[in-house]
């Protein structure tokens, strides 16, 4: 399987703070990678660099053969292949769920209203909230909103889906419904890069698990190896705290 995401010697600073240190990281097509680590380790920053929500200062990022730099054409092209799901959902509150999903299809992909609505309902069905399509985000529960957000990202038919702590803002009862959708998505063959603390999800679905601490990738292994034979002390400490 060829690498669809490649990070080579990527470094990033916030002012003087060195947040990403010599990151070398690859994701193959259809691979599911879980990134975990303590807060401040740089994991969110890492995936946000992939769709240029953050800029890296050093190193190279290549997504589906396109190099990520200031070139806005490249950035747009890459963003249409990479979907993102946020911790705070970020649905557009002034639009209905259906409109949230059709907006980019109409304005970016120039589809007709009918086409975009058909596709939107398909994905809303997949995440099991098609009956809420005419409601507004403020009327939905957290779990429903996040599932709608996943549908919104899928409507752009991306090759890669990035998840930035998708369940961290949810009440416990709603975490499962979102994780179920993500498991479904994984089984359907999507390339996924997920930052999360949900180790159960990792064990079930991930091909690889990456542990980050203080801006470095400390350990990256196939899932089974990661949980059964962690090598690094910091990894062991983290796993003992979280499991």
């Amino acid at each position: 399987m060829s690498a669809i995401i490649q990070l080579k010697d990527v470094n990033k600073w916030y002012g003087d703070f060195h947040v990403l240190k010599d990151i070398n990281f690859e994701v193959s097509e259809k691979e599911k990678v879980v990134i975990c680590g303590p807060s401040g380790s740089g994991k969110s920053t890492l995936i946000r660099c992939i769709n240029r929500l953050e800029e890296h200062q050093k190193g190279e990022i290549v997504v589906d053969g396109m190099t990520l730099d200031e070139n806005t054409k490249n950035i747009s092209a890459i963003r249409s292949e990479v979907g993102m799901v946020f911790q705070q959902f970020n649905l557009f509150p002034h639009l209905s769920i259906l409109e949230n999903c059709t907006l980019a299809q109409i304005w970016v992909k120039k589809k007709t209203k009918k086409e975009s609505e058909t596709l939107a309902m398909e994905y809303l069905n997949k995440v099991q909230i098609s009956d809420q399509s005419h409601k507004f985000p403020g009327q939905l529960s957290g779990g429903q909103q996040q599932r709608a957000a996943i549908a919104r990202a899928l409507c752009m038919e991306p090759k890669i889906m990035l998840f930035d702590e998708p369940t961290s803002a949810l009440d416990p009862e709603m975490i499962k419904e979102v994780l179920d959708v993500m498991v479904d998505l994984a089984k359907g063959g999507m390339t996924m890069c997920v930052v999360t603390h949900e180790m159960g999800f990792a064990k079930e679905v991930a091909d690889r698990v990456v542990f980050m601490d203080e801006g470095n990738i400390v350990e990256a292994k196939k899932t089974k190896d990661f949980f059964e034979n962690p090598e690094n002390d910091r990894t062991k400490l983290f796993l003992s705290q979280i499991l």
Binding site: L53, S76, L103, V108
Partner: protein, 398 residues
């Protein structure tokens, strides 16, 4: 201290034991108080007025005004009634308020957005502008424009000339008077133009929904706006002639006769109101744009919308919800502040009606009441509109 406390405790205890009394007593006391004060005032007022031989009643409104008004949108001379003078004042108030609101909004948005610029010069300029014009008393700004800036304009003989037909001097800005033939046809043409633009945009929207094709709506709307009225103008025999202002010297004083003019009082008031109010609107605009969660822009960017699209479809609709209520408040403040016209003798409703008319008729109570009711009506109208607007656009929540 203890004496008072003891008795307060006793009263408290009594009230708590008799909840009905606790509920009714304060209200009864207030009603008695208000009624007594009003009666006291009314009694005094009627005896004072009859002692001076002044009647009450609104009949005086149809009496002859016997004074001229320097600037008026409608025909007025000293033979017309006080009622008409009121109307002139009201129209002048509305005129300066509308112009002020228009420019305050434009300037407010410009400087509000500039304040958020990443260019330090731009944001610094905006900050200085806002801090300067916000903290200086509005009255001082009016005086400054009127007595300092506008006094710098030359005398009539040496007027500044713009485009050969506009003359600016210390007495005002003089420009050609429009004399229309078939003005009504032209207005119909304008109405037709706006309908055409509306229809075109509806069509363009529907086209986009059905086929995904987008048309350059803004550009075409502008073209329609320019072409249609011009066609109407030439085809329907609408004519416009100009009465040019001419410089004449009478008794050694040079003046412009004919044409229309804008008096410096209006300009000073309009400038001061616009600049002063724009600072508050700028802060509202800034709050509105900052109030949009960063995540909204990120989510919009992550599904592929361009910067302009993000602004137009996501940021501005949400920002307007935050910006519009306090901005409507500022419009109201501007309208009330226009009453400062009295300080430089711009004939607004306060100067004309509560000033000159009051002095002439002595009907203080009627006139002040009418004036205050006028402003109250304006305030309440705007409040009602704002409440309606708020309800209409509030984000639907559970």
């Amino acid at each position: 201290m203890s004496f008072f406390q003891n008795h307060l405790e006793k009263i408290d205890q009594f009230l708590n034991d008799h909840p009905k009394v606790k509920f009714l007593l304060p209200q009864a006391i207030l009603i008695v108080l208000v009624v007594s004060i009003i009666s006291y005032f009314s009694f005094n007022a009627s005896s004072n007025l009859s002692a001076r031989g002044i009647n009450t009643g609104f009949g005086f409104l149809s009496n002859k005004a016997s004074f001229d008004i320097q600037f008026s949108l409608i025909e007025f001379d000293s033979s017309m009634s006080y009622g008409r003078a009121y109307l002139v004042g009201l129209l002048n108030t509305i005129l300066v308020s509308v112009i002020g609101i228009l420019f305050a909004t434009i300037l407010g948005f410009v400087f509000g957005i500039l304040r958020l610029s990443s260019n330090p010069l731009a944001s610094g300029l905006a900050t200085c502008y806002i801090e300067l014009f916000r903290n200086i008393s509005l009255l001082l700004q009016i005086f400054f424009w009127y007595f300092t800036v506008l006094r710098l304009l030359p005398q009539a003989e040496n007027s500044i000339v713009l485009f050969d037909v506009i003359y600016a001097n210390i007495k005002g800005i003089y420009f050609p008077k429009f004399i229309w033939t078939n003005l009504n046809l032209f207005i119909y043409g304008l109405i037709f133009t706006f309908i055409a633009i509306y229809l075109f945009n509806s069509y363009a929207n529907r086209l986009r929904e059905n086929t995904g094709k987008t048309l350059p709506q803004f550009l075409i709307s502008i073209i329609i706006l320019i072409i249609l009225p011009t066609l109407v103008f030439f085809i329907f025999g609408v004519e416009v002639d100009f009465a040019h202002p001419k410089l004449e010297t009478r008794m050694g004083i040079a003046n412009f006769i004919g044409g229309s003019s804008i008096i410096p009082e209006f300009l000073a008031l309009a400038f001061a109101l616009s600049l002063y109010t724009s600072t508050f609107i700028a802060e509202n605009v800034r709050a509105g744009i900052l109030g949009i969660d960063k995540g909204q822009k990120e989510a919009a960017a992550s599904i592929g919308l361009t910067n302009t699209q993000v602004l137009r479809l996501i940021v501005i609709p949400q920002a307007l919800r935050i910006i519009i209520p306090p901005t409507t408040n500022q419009y109201l403040n501007l309208t009330k502040n226009s009453s400062l016209a009295a300080a430089i003798a711009y004939p607004d409703i306060v100067l004309v009606f509560a000033g000159t008319a009051l002095m002439q008729t002595g009907r203080a109570i009627e006139i002040v009441t009418i004036t205050m009711l006028t402003y109250l009506t304006l305030s309440i109208t705007i409040s009602v509109f704002m409440n309606w607007y708020n309800k209409k656009v509030s984000l639907t929540e559970r």
